[in-house]
Symmetry: C2
Subunit: 246 residues, 2 copies
């Protein structure tokens, strides 16, 4: 089965279960799915293993089951068991070889930045509050220099194990300002290194504030070393997994 | 002073204080303002006395004070004292005769409707979930018949005391569908009767579902009696006070 899942990441320790006692999206989903599939062994795969506090409107998960529950009943059955901050948007049957993570061709994330001098009562959970006005022209110039196939080692998670390669294809990195003043950064790649989106946003914000020149994004990239990147990753609560393409 | 105030209405018993023990927006604002103005007697006026559960991004309040706090410090000082679900967007000095309620020329509200078959994990707090697809063309036809100066007694709160007149000037009633599928109804009037927006939305939803014909909105209006209106008011959590014009 292939499910599209939404969640408000505020009260989760990320997507992936890591031992006992942590409330993760995966563990909450497993608790809702297991009673439906009965004795079947459950392994949930996800397109994006989102960090603590990151939200999703288009997370995709897959798992195998022999359950006879009609496909059109799955979303309703799960939503009635899931807590309010997780919802299944849709469910469909997938080919036997479908794997939410390995079959994905690209992922799109959105990062929201609130730049009004005063904080927001409604967007606080879903956006980073930056009190400085941001120079979008310079952020866009920097963004253009990151698009393409590059070694993104300088934008990976500090100290993490990135796997066999740190080369990724960044297909889109665009920046829009909504009428409310909210700034949305949309970023698409074949796949992302751990914390890569938040590290890119962290650099773009420093550039938008004027603390780094637009050329810094490319210069940091060229070092291929996380330790050469002076910027902290942007906070997780501004980030949302938007869509996964197969 | 004139303040623009935002709040998430979920955990409030509406704007206006009504006796002890209820958490209202007014009481929370008063608690934050009183320490700043010291011994001054505080009376807060608001452009819209929103019901329990209704949100705001553009509520306007006014009060008199002799405080010497510089005007540019007010929003920051209040936001540091206010809980996370209330924020002051901006503060400015107003003329002596300014009154947030009586000086207002018009109010704009927005009502959000989520029509996907499955519920939303992110929009649940801020939109009404209607599982039926809605016919926007028929809703718009009905909306057009309500725009103008009319006696809206059939759309007032059942049992409430509406004041000296139930005639209001409905200046705008428009309906848009966002890319996410969320439907936004925007409604502007010189002023609203209590629960009038929610009663209008309640009728429009029945029309959108096909349970009432588009002509019903005008027929209900013509009865001038709330008891002739068969529709319940739409739930408060989809409603947001958007903007007030002076």
């Amino acid at each position: 089965l292939k499910l599209i899942v939404e969640y408000d990441g505020t009260d989760f320790r990320g997507f992936q279960s890591q031992g006992q006692g942590n409330r993760t999206v995966q563990s909450v989903l497993a608790e809702a799915i297991q009673p439906i599939i009965g004795q079947d062994h459950l392994t949930i795969h996800a397109a994006g293993r989102t960090d603590t506090g990151v939200h999703a409107v288009g997370q995709v998960i897959s798992f195998a089951t022999a359950s006879q529950l009609p496909i059109e009943r799955w979303a309703i059955a799960l939503n009635s068991r899931l807590p309010r901050d997780v919802a299944v948007a849709s469910a469909e049957e997938a080919p036997d070889d479908f794997h939410a993570r390995f079959s994905a061709r690209s992922r799109t994330y959105r990062y929201a930045i609130w730049t009004r001098r005063t904080r927001s009562a409604l967007w606080d959970r879903y956006s980073l509050h930056v009190r400085h006005p941001l120079n979008l022209a310079e952020m866009r110039e920097a963004a253009r220099s990151l698009v393409g196939v590059h070694d993104f080692a300088a934008y990976k998670r500090a100290g993490g194990n990135p796997g066999p390669t740190t080369v990724r294809n960044l297909q889109r990195l665009s920046i829009h300002r909504l009428p409310s003043g909210l700034i949305l950064v949309t970023v698409t790649a074949n796949a992302f290194l751990r914390s890569m989106v938040r590290n890119i946003i962290g650099v773009l914000i420093e550039i938008g504030k004027g603390d780094l020149p637009p050329a810094a994004a490319q210069e940091i990239l060229a070092t291929r070393e996380r330790i050469q990147n002076p910027c902290a990753p942007a906070a997780p609560h501004g980030l949302c997994l938007w869509r996964v393409e197969y």
